[in-house]
Symmetry: C5
Subunit: 359 residues, 5 copies
């Protein structure tokens, strides 16, 4: 489940760039794949050795180091300097829970993206870190293994645009995939809201309340996670150092357009969930009022009847033989008369309530 | 009905520009009309052949290729490259559910607009795509066939301003028509809200609640669909490449003014629907309170009377002949006295309630 | 009453600048006054002939053509070209329901202003159109005849600043008058809100709810009508073509200050009306709760008493002569004892409720 | 009390700069003090004659004309031209109810500030007008006499910074004083809100509702009055004509910082008052629900008991000697048995309610 | 506890830079530590004498004067001029309750930061003042003694980056620590909200209401305290006078990123607390409605039964021997018949309520 507070942080006053090893869960095995490609060639190395890596960093071909899983502090100390990652970048990756951002260091760009994922109705957000040097790109991703397999497949096919283009196109492809991850999640969320709406209009029950709250919670947290990505793309498009070349700019703008679509959807979901809550509370209150009104009217009709029955249960006639003491008791038709009284009163009240439009 | 999630999207990681044929409903027949016009001449071709098209693309006369209906992936593959449509443009058109936008590619402008339509009280949004090359314009529209017939009629009449002017004026005419489509829809919506308001002030019933919710839903989704069009027009007016020539600029500004009017209307509708919901809930709650108060007061008056009747129904006098045992039972005027008591209590309570302003 | 949807529009696809004669109510007679003035001279013509007009257009003296009432399409066709009004301007004037705006055409400024008016508590908004050419000004106004009479009076008095200054000062005077029209309406609205507030704090009744809704409605629609005027004045002040000369700029800034004052007032009215609604609903709910609590407590006290009376109304003692069968009935002081019980229970409950602070 | 509509205005169409004498309350006596000072000298004149004034205007020493009380139209006509006040300035001062603003005329700055004041818990807003010519300053203030006495005291002491510095420092001192006037008012308001909060958390009563509304009203109107002062200070700091010299700029920025502090306080007061209202309504509703639930449960327990007592009050056994007719009446332990029934039912229901967590 | 109004201020009209000694609590002892350091050397002086200080101010090594505790007016008068603190700075430090800000005086920067602290669940905000001259830095902090000990430890270790770098890096370290102080507080707050949420979804009680209010209060006041820090960092990063050198800029941007993370968290907490309040009120209202409905239905079922029992308690049969007078009383199976009636009515009503879905 998405957490309200989602950051691992060092205690205030820790030197910047500190790599705390204890906050890392070492259990998940690390998948470390190296892809060195150009239009004609493709070299793939699993768990490359430092010497392999150094060679690739120098080469002019595009190289993608793809790290799947959570690196620990040891790994980072070993490879971080190899890849020339800025200490703050290393710290951010180990800590996790970053805000999507684009940070430019001397000769590298550091990009943080959020990839929402929906596993059996439970929404999670996984972070993707991209460290982009001119000739190589390192990506860190802790989410599902298969997320990037469509990209790998295309890179492995020679002649595709991905192979022909440089790293900037690869970065675009990764970011596009990252942003598009939101669509299936939003589709599920949207369908969920519409199902809720239908349920509300037909036969609402109390679980609806918790479901609306759950939807609102998810929208609040997705919004927090996704909103800053718009700014990341904007910065990348306007970047003065031209990390992204002109032909790829067009694609990035398309990507930017998608982030705005995502935010538009989230905004309308938020409005809709507020409207659904209003509708639910109003409906429930109406239904309750309806029931209470009818029951109260029913009770009210019996109140005077019970009073009259009580009157004729008084013991006046038994003791004093006074003619003033409930003469009806001695009438032949006293009892039917009282029943007539009952019926007249009941019908009279029903007519009155109907006239007042209370029934 | 308008959907909360209205986008067809490829699974994340699909290459940009992929044309998925399976998401397309082939059943709707495609209407493909070519209009090649200048001040003196007009050539109209139904379902032009590729060779016809190629000739028109080169010519200096203005050419409008109007596609009515949903093209499928095959059609797009065949004609897309003929028209030199950018792969992302082709993908956007096939996917649908785009956000209104203006995207500038090297030698073409791609414009997405949303045309709301109201068919028997059900509001739908149809998308219009304009691909504008210097000498020709391709429009795609899946909505009603007759939407553009007033424009066609004017183009077919020689001597009109439309015939005398270039493609930029045609684009203005189409966008103006697209934006003005919102007015009848908004008029219906506005009248609906005012009818609701009158109903609320006179005799509200529970259906009002659902109607207000429905109105809010439509306003939320229309807002999402129409809001970005303001930016589209703004971009077109400020465009540095001067796609739109000076004489047409004046008209576009008028058009821009219309989008703002539409947003103003939607904003005030939103405020009004919120106010109507407040009014409805408050009225309903007041009415309910009124009823409950009156019924409760009625019941309350009988409570002590019934108690007294109960008292005189106790069997004390029958058993013990003690003079303390309900002497009233043996009074000649005991019974009338009790009735007097009843009446005094009831009237006393009525006066009390009236003084307290509870009645 | 102010309408939610207040625009006459042509069906989408109508050519721009179309003058539809059927949407015009011809019944209102048109008042067409021409004022040609300079510091020393003043010529006034009622219902000027085309020839008169043409002469005035050329002259260097300032000329104000003041049209009072709704021109119809015929009138517009006849005079529109005479005054060189842009077709879009003509269409806007005939259609009405424009958003306040300042539109600059080649050699003319077109200004739309909204003048709120309060006729016997019913707020209306009348539109004022100013078409300003360098040497003459045409104004269209459908509202009350006497609105501009203070200006006319000043123009007719020689030596006033109005006579000494050019058309830009006249435009300022008209716009100042237009904006100041809002103050009496806002004063009435403000006093109305304060009266409502007092009523609320003293003795609220249900009509208050409808009055608050009515106030909110008026504030929403006045806001929509007046808000854009701020932008109009801003544009006029910053205008690069220097339509307004320096000495008049000071006055226009004063005028701009007034539009902001109007918006400030409307904002605080909106906040206040929301606060009043809160107060009303809370008060009503408190009052209702108060009543229900007291009535329920009253009822609750009688419940056990009635039960006890019922117990002694049971017929056990009459049948079985068992000593266990309600021996109190045979006590001498049984009846007073039961009354003692009644009183003890009632007082005990009162004390209990008082202790619990329920009373 | 603060008014929703706080402006005196002329009827629309009145010439700009009109001084209406009838809107002025002449009863308040005018205090007119002239201070002409330099580092070494100080001349103080009460109710200076025109000739005194003219001399001072020419002199190079700093001169402060301090007007305390409401000038009337006659006064303004006499002195306005003497001081070379712009007609719009004169009109604004006489009318009152201005929005805080800084208006720059050719050779003068006109500044309007709002000074909130709290007299015995009633908040009022007094206006301060500063007309600043290069060598002299005229201030108009209708509020409390002693407001400016700390400044006067410092000016009367030779050697103070105030005496050493020019008019710009005096203007800073006056504006600083004006802005700091808000702090005691805000402190009282803040303490009031916290007292309200404590009261709410301990023993809320209905007066709290009106107090919260009163606080909201004051916050709305204070906000309207104070918010624009931020812009006034901003304009003064950025002024290109360098009315304020560099050494004083530092102080003005401090002053600007204070206006933002005031707004921050008002914003959090607004949020807090909204939260208090929520808390109050929720608490009251909870408390009411609590009472109603307990009373209803109490009543509900007696309902079946009373029914059973009613059953044994039926007269079946008396008439028919049928063995089916209420045999319990003839049992020796019938009456104790019924009491046992009463107790079992009551305890059973209590247990049931407790299990359901209704008690 | 955080106060709504948290400022000590002089009475309006006090000269700027006044140091009021009476507003200072002298009881807290002052801790005054001087650290003079360069890469190779470190000199530490406790409670330095004026002569020590003067020597350090001139030196080229970085010097940090760290004041822990509240200085009083005497202290400030003595040391303020020694450190060349601007009078307004001295006043601000003594008064406290400042808004986070960065103020640039001729040759010094004055920075105010807010450090939230959570002591046993009570959130407080302590202020940190930094007065930064080119070669020395004075910090004032009234909060916990140990806050800066991690920094001191690092400065005392030779060879650390802190020792190698200049004052700008020290300022970064202090501000980073100041901002990161918010994370533990926010984590506690976030966990608190999630605990509240769980409690709400399982078994809410009335204390939840006060807890939500308390959380909202803390969020409002934390927001007020922390929000302006974003602007402070922004100003420091964009500062044209290059107080911060390039290598430190990267770190400051990281710091800026943290302030935005803090605000993001606070925003989502605010949304969440609003949603929790909605959820609580709705749940409580649902629960209450549920109880009232069931109790009312229970009562309603007994109403007609009690009435019938009352009918057969009437004394008709006893007096008149009329055959119309309640013949059932004389039937052998009259009593069982009435019980049958009771049961039929009760079951009938249960079925009716079930059909209506009221049960």
């Amino acid at each position: 489940m998405l957490k309200l507070f989602n950051k691992d942080y060092h205690s205030p006053g820790t030197p910047p760039g500190t790599l705390a090893s204890d906050t890392i869960d070492d259990s998940a095995p690390l998948n470390f794949l190296t892809l060195d490609y150009s239009e004609d060639s493709l070299v793939e190395i699993d768990n490359a050795l430092p010497s392999d890596i150094e060679a690739k960093l120098e080469s002019n071909t595009a190289t993608w180091f793809q790290v799947q899983g959570s690196p620990n502090a040891d790994w980072m100390q070993q490879y971080g300097s190899l890849f020339k990652l800025h200490p703050l970048v290393q710290e951010d990756i180990l800590n996790g829970g970053q805000r999507p951002k684009l940070e430019s260091y001397d000769d590298q760009l550091f990009i943080v993206m959020n990839l929402p994922d929906d596993v059996d109705g439970v929404i999670t957000i996984n972070q993707l870190y991209l460290c982009w040097h001119k000739h190589y790109l390192i990506s860190f991703y802790t989410g599902d293994k298969d997320t990037f397999s469509p990209l790998l497949k295309r890179l492995r096919t020679s002649g595709t645009r991905s192979r022909r283009s440089g790293l900037d196109y690869l970065v675009y492809l990764i970011m596009d995939l990252a942003i598009d991850q939101a669509f299936p999640v939003l589709e599920t969320l949207g369908l969920g809201l519409e199902t809720l709406e239908e349920k509300l209009l037909q036969e609402p029950d109390q679980s609806v309340l918790h479901e609306i709250h759950e939807a609102k919670r998810q929208i609040i947290l997705l919004r927090r996670g996704i909103w800053p990505q718009r700014e990341v793309l904007n910065q990348l498009i306007r970047d003065e150092n031209a990390w992204v070349e002109d032909p790829t700019q067009v694609y990035l703008r398309d990507c930017y357009d998608h982030t705005i679509q995502v935010m538009d959807l989230l905004e309308s979901y938020r409005d809709m969930s507020a409207s659904l809550l209003d509708l639910y509370l109003s409906s429930a209150s109406m239904r309750m009022n309806e029931i209470m009104r009818l029951l109260t009217i029913f009770t009210t009709i019996f109140i005077p009847l019970t009073f009259i029955a009580g009157v004729y249960g008084m013991n006046f006639a038994g003791e004093s033989q006074s003619p003033w003491a409930m003469p009806e008791l001695r009438w032949s038709f006293g009892y039917p008369f009282v029943w007539g009284l009952f019926i007249v009163i009941a019908i009279g009240m029903l007519i009155f309530f109907r006239r007042k439009r209370w029934l």
